[in-house]
């Protein structure tokens, strides 16, 4: 434990003036950690003309907001952001620092940690305080997700972590909450010309092929008709997945051979494989049984697919899937800010 360092600092990520949800998740977690330690939650916000976001941060748990508002911070760049965040940390000496494990956070946090000469733990899915010594226990997946490791940073401060988005809970929004605003000035006049952003481009997600997809919704003979593929497409859209198929469907001409999973098709190992109306013939299993999580929906409780499924639903996919899609879409809208 450090005598000098107190409070939990959260780096607030905003892009193009839009507050990123992960920051609110971090504030929720920071609130819990700070309450446990009888300390405060400090949010650090960088950007250009972003003052309007500050009150939202109080509503989601921040006690203080340190704001550096400067044209040089309009778009994320490593050098100015590292400078400001490092100076803030060196000045305010928090005990704990949290960043979202995003494309920005994973570029910024390691640089800051190295500048301050402290430890950083990446992609945490759980943060707790050790009862005995008050150290921050940072738990995260490693080895390609095959194991979990609990990391500590006992002798260096702040204890820094990047946190996986979508894991921590938001605090219940409290519109009455207020906090203290601190305007922090940093000299950003001398940033290097060696680094220039030439262009900022937004992209639409392209269709992946089934071997690269993390989530596959797979169609078997049980879907009944080619039109019913639509039900799977909608579910795939909600989950950000891709529709694949068993050989039976391909032979019917309902879907292209490129989407076939199985002995004569492709072998896939997605994080999630939802088998819809697939009986589970050995030729099919050969192509997907290594999937991380297998969910099967089939009318026949004796279907061999249930032997490899982690979760088996005996039911009518034509009813269950639309219901699932509906509930998932509800989840997504409640998640959006």
């Amino acid at each position: 434990m450090s005598n000098e360092h107190r409070h939990v600092l959260v780096f607030v990520e905003q892009r193009e003036g839009i507050l990123q949800r992960v920051s609110l998740e971090l504030l929720g977690k920071a609130r819990k950690l700070a309450d446990y330690r009888n300390q405060e939650v400090i949010a650090v916000l960088l950007g250009d003309q972003v003052q309007s976001m500050v009150s939202e941060l109080y509503h989601y748990g921040a006690d203080q907001v340190i704001l550096t508002d400067d044209p040089a911070l309009k778009v994320y760049m490593t050098e100015p952001y590292t400078k400001v965040v490092s100076e803030v940390i060196q000045h305010y000496k928090p005990e704990i620092c949290m960043f979202g494990a995003t494309a920005i956070g994973r570029d910024l946090a390691p640089r800051v940690a190295a500048r301050i000469q402290t430890g950083l733990t990446a992609d945490c899915t759980s943060l707790e305080i050790d009862e005995d010594n008050q150290n921050l226990l940072m738990t995260r997946p490693a080895f390609g997700g095959n194991i979990m490791a609990t990391i500590i940073c006992p002798d260096h401060y702040p204890q820094m972590s990047t946190v996986r988005p979508g894991v921590m809970q938001l605090m219940e929004k409290d519109n009455s909450r207020e906090g203290q605003l601190i305007e922090f000035k940093s000299d950003l006049s001398d940033m290097s010309e060696d680094f220039k952003i030439l262009e900022i481009v937004k992209t639409i997600k392209e269709k992946k092929n089934i071997e690269d997809a993390n989530i596959l919704i797979s169609a078997g003979r049980g879907i009944g008709s080619q039109e019913n593929l639509k039900i799977l497409e909608e579910l795939a859209d909600s989950l950000g997945g891709v529709v694949s198929a068993s050989r039976a469907i391909v032979d019917q001409g309902w879907i292209d051979r490129n989407f076939q999973v199985g002995q004569t098709g492709k072998t896939v190992r997605p994080d999630l494989y939802i088998a819809c109306g697939i009986s589970g013939a050995i030729q099919h299993l050969a192509g997907m049984e290594e999937s991380e999580l297998i969910i099967a929906i089939n009318k026949d409780p004796k279907a061999p697919i249930f032997d490899v499924a982690d979760i088996g639903i005996v039911g009518d996919l034509k009813k269950v899937l639309p219901e699932l899609t509906k509930q998932l879409n509800l989840e997504i809208t409640t998640k959006a800010i």
Partner: protein, 379 residues
């Protein structure tokens, strides 16, 4: 005696394995079903140096050895017998005799592009009336000033039509019988040289196997390999090397079939359990694996003997004899262990069984190998 494979060879095997899994295996079924020569794979293999593995860099090769070459054919054949034989026929039967018996001018003109893979090679000895009795050559080559005139035909020629360079045996002096046969390098685009009927085969269906027809083909005199009358000897020595290639192909086919079977028996459940739990399955696999390992040692030591410039002819014959018979036995058992599914073309083992059969026949039938071995024993 060191049975360990060097680090170089270990890394080479990793290369061959990765290439086979990513580039060869995905095409294997289609190549067989459509009887298609995998030209795109040929391009990729060329860029990695697969067409010149055992030849020195100065001749466009990779500076490797015969073991490295044998391993390449083995690994490729695990997924696709067709792809394995393309390399084998090219390397052992066309590039090798030029390297071992050709003169400097011939090496410069032909070996370099062959080793680089810019040209593909083939070998023509077999004729309609001269198979196992290879000495009965009827294709004739008559000297006419600065060139020979070639007339005749060859059958069952691997890489026919896709090759640019052919090693052709022909009679230059019919009176001398065996000692009247000569070896020639014939360009694929020579006038009067046509490709005849393409064979419809049981296996290695993607391999181009056709008839070669020579009608008054002019072959420059400088394309004679060695001297007139040395052709039969050159052919026999060439086939010695080819036997290592075919033995490697057989080895690969057997190993590939075993690998597929092990995967299948762990998945397939009957009588409430995976069939890998039954002792019959286990004993069959043990037999298959042991014979494959024995084949491997024969093949590798024949390759090593050739690298060490020892007399390797009998060794190569033993390797070819044993590896091909093992391949036939192992692939047949593989189909049996797959049951009904193994008989369908959905699973690769029936193709491996059909591919394996030819290894007992070409480049000297098993019977010829036994003649070679016995001949050495009873000298």
């Amino acid at each position: 005696m060191n049975f360990n494979i060097s680090n170089e060879h270990k890394m080479l095997r990793e290369l061959y394995e990765a290439f086979t899994i990513n580039e060869v295996e995905p095409l294997a079924k289609e190549v067989d079903e459509d009887e298609r020569f995998p030209i795109e794979t040929v391009e990729k293999m060329k860029s990695l140096g697969f067409f010149g593995i055992p030849f020195p860099k100065e001749y466009g090769g990779q500076g490797g050895d015969n073991l490295a070459y044998a391993m390449a054919v083995e690994e490729l054949s695990k997924a696709c017998g067709t792809t394995g034989v393309i390399i084998s026929a090219h390397t052992s039967l066309c590039a090798a005799p030029i390297y071992e018996f050709g003169n400097e001018a011939q090496k410069q003109k032909y070996l370099i592009p062959l080793a680089k893979g810019d040209k593909i090679g083939a070998f023509g000895l077999t004729e309609p009336n001269a198979g196992t009795d290879a000495a009965g050559q009827q294709t004739k080559a008559v000297l006419n000033g600065d060139h020979y005139i070639l007339n005749g035909s060859k059958i069952f020629i691997t890489n026919a039509g896709y090759a640019d360079v052919y090693i052709i045996m022909a009679m230059t002096d019919i009176e001398k019988g065996l000692k009247g046969i000569s070896a020639f390098i014939v360009d694929g685009d020579a006038e009067g040289f046509t490709i005849g009927k393409k064979e419809e085969k049981m296996g290695i269906r993607g391999s181009a196997t056709s008839e070669l027809i020579f009608e008054n083909v002019k072959v420059p005199a400088e394309n004679l390999i060695g001297k007139e009358g040395q052709g039969f000897k050159i052919a026999m020595k060439t086939l010695d090397g080819g036997r290592i290639g075919i033995a490697s192909q057989a080895l690969g086919l057997a190993q590939g079939a075993l690998d597929e079977t092990i995967k299948y028996v762990k998945e397939r459940k009957q009588f409430g359990r995976a069939i890998s739990k039954f002792q019959n399955t286990q004993f069959q696999l043990a037999d298959m694996s042991t014979k494959i390992e024995a084949s491997r040692l024969l093949v590798y030591s024949a390759a090593k003997a050739k690298d060490d410039k020892l007399n390797y002819s009998t060794h190569a014959a033993m390797a070819k004899l044993f590896a091909s018979e093992t391949a036939m036995e192992v692939t047949t058992k593989a189909v049996q262990l797959h049951g009904g599914y193994g008989y369908t073309r959905e699973y690769p083992v029936e193709r491996m069984m059909r591919d394996a059969k030819i290894t007992e026949i070409y480049e000297g039938t098993s019977e010829v190998q036994k003649m070679v071995i016995a001949g050495k024993l009873l000298k």
